[in-house]
């Protein structure tokens, strides 16, 4: 059976070039980077080379990168670390309502430590309004965290404007760029951010590696206490194969980015156009233009997203409902709630995230197959035919 993998936001295969770069660091180059002898110091040198490659991908300096175990840890370190390091400056944190759980729950954790957290609403396209942020900022605000691109609806936020606003008020700004790095150009100077999180699996590096950019003159309270690793910012012996994998993946991403973005955009537009043509009563979520090039997200009326994902997988098509955590907890996606999608329509969420290896033929197969699967599920649905939900308009809460 044909296999069409369209869930690259969840996981990507480790690229062959990345795997080959990593392999020596599992056995031959096994030394502890902190050791003073050459088996260690040579590995330490390799880590610093990878740091420079990751920095180059986002326009940063190598000394402003700390390696982490994941994008989630990078988000935790940015939010808890920056806020705790500035705890004498203020007690308020602002995050958008559509952040990843690692941001939302870090902010909620800070509430337990007597910080106040503001969850900033977004408009129906998922955009944060700079004026709304301006009104939310107070002299007590320490940090604002707004994601660069949303993994569930693909919307790209106006980060440079939002960050500039915060900078003018002396407030630190963090962006979670896990969904965007390697897919669109990301430059920390253009975005004007103090902290930026990225993740290895988004780039074709293995799971278990991520990184955080931190700006000059920022401070981070460590989450993992240890010794001199990561220049005293994160304890624990370094995940050397993972770091090498991330460095190689970053290097490849930098070279391939312009061509890849165009390829993804073409495939995505064909996919959306095909589904729009062949399937009725489907809401396309996220911003129509300011969105990730390989990202297509929908809500199908009268269908359960999990059923659709399962049925599609039986036909060799792999997508996602968008929010694995919410889906497994039988909750409505907080992102879809935040953009105002009615609760029963939000149940029919389907997200396709394309990768560089996807082809036109694969997309045509999806366009041919998906309408039939939708029709089958709707025939079984007691909700089909009832006009209880506005499927073509949303009201932002």
């Amino acid at each position: 059976m044909k296999r069409v993998y369209l869930d690259h936001a969840s996981a990507t295969p480790v690229r062959r070039e990345v795997l080959e770069a990593m392999l020596p660091y599992f056995d031959r180059e096994f030394g502890n980077p902190s050791a003073v002898y050459d088996l260690g110091s040579s590995v330490k040198q390799v880590i610093e080379e990878q740091r420079a490659k990751v920095a180059a991908l986002i326009g940063a300096r190598a000394e402003n990168i700390v390696f982490t175990s994941s994008g989630a840890e990078a988000n935790n370190l940015a939010i808890k670390g920056a806020v705790l390091a500035r705890r004498n400056k203020g007690k308020q944190v602002i995050v958008s309502a559509i952040e990843h759980h690692s941001v939302l729950n870090s902010a909620r954790f800070l509430e337990r430590l007597d910080f106040e957290t503001i969850f900033l609403p977004v408009n129906p396209d998922g955009l944060v309004d700079p004026d709304r942020l301006a009104r939310a900022l107070t002299p007590d605000t320490v940090l604002v965290s707004i994601m660069h691109a949303n993994n569930e609806i693909g919307t790209i936020e106006p980060i440079a404007d939002l960050a500039e606003l915060c900078r003018s008020r002396g407030v630190l700004f963090h962006t979670d760029a896990v969904a965007s790095v390697g897919t669109v150009k990301v430059d920390v100077n253009e975005l004007n951010v103090d902290f930026l999180s990225l993740s290895g699996p988004s780039l074709g590096a293995p799971k278990g590696i991520g990184a955080l950019y931190f700006g000059e003159k920022t401070r981070l309270m460590p989450l993992i206490h240890g010794g001199i690793q990561e220049n005293g910012r994160r304890g624990g012996t370094e995940n050397v194969p993972g770091i090498v994998g991330l460095g190689r993946a970053a290097e490849l991403a930098l070279w391939e980015l312009p061509e890849k973005a165009g390829h993804l955009r073409n495939l995505r537009d064909r996919l959306v156009g095909g589904i729009r043509e062949k399937v009725e009563k489907v809401l396309f979520t996220g911003h129509p233009h300011h969105r990730l090039p390989g990202h297509a997200s929908f809500c199908f009326q009268a269908i359960e997203g999990e059923s659709l994902v399962f049925m599609l997988s039986q036909a060799g098509i792999y997508g996602n409902t968008g929010s694995a955590c919410a889906s497994k907890a039988l909750k409505t996606s907080p992102v879809l709630v935040a953009i105002g999608v009615a609760a029963d329509l939000a149940q029919g969420s389907l997200v396709f995230t394309l990768g560089g290896s996807n082809t036109v033929e694969e997309i045509e197969y999806v366009i041919e197959t998906l309408p039939n699967v939708v029709e089958q599920l709707r025939r079984l649905s007691p909700l089909w035919g009832r006009e209880t939900v506005p499927y073509d308009q949303v009201a932002c809460t």
Partner: protein, 82 residues
Amino acid sequence: MKFVKNQQRDETLDLVCRMCPMHLLEPGDRLKCMKKGQVLEVLTDYDGALDDIPEWCRKCGQEFIGLEEDDECYKLYIRKVA
């Protein structure tokens, strides 16, 4: 411990929130890039640095000038003499 106030400095090294023993590693690296007679200001929130840095200066032949304390960190001053 000698306390100072409004000490002039040529460079600042911010080690606030950085884990031990970075306060003993980074000053040496930074002093290598400075000229003799110049003063390095080290910012730290680590109490152990109050004993460690004067002792490190003695071992390395650098001059420990003194300490200033403010609301959020200690400021330790080192003059490069070696």
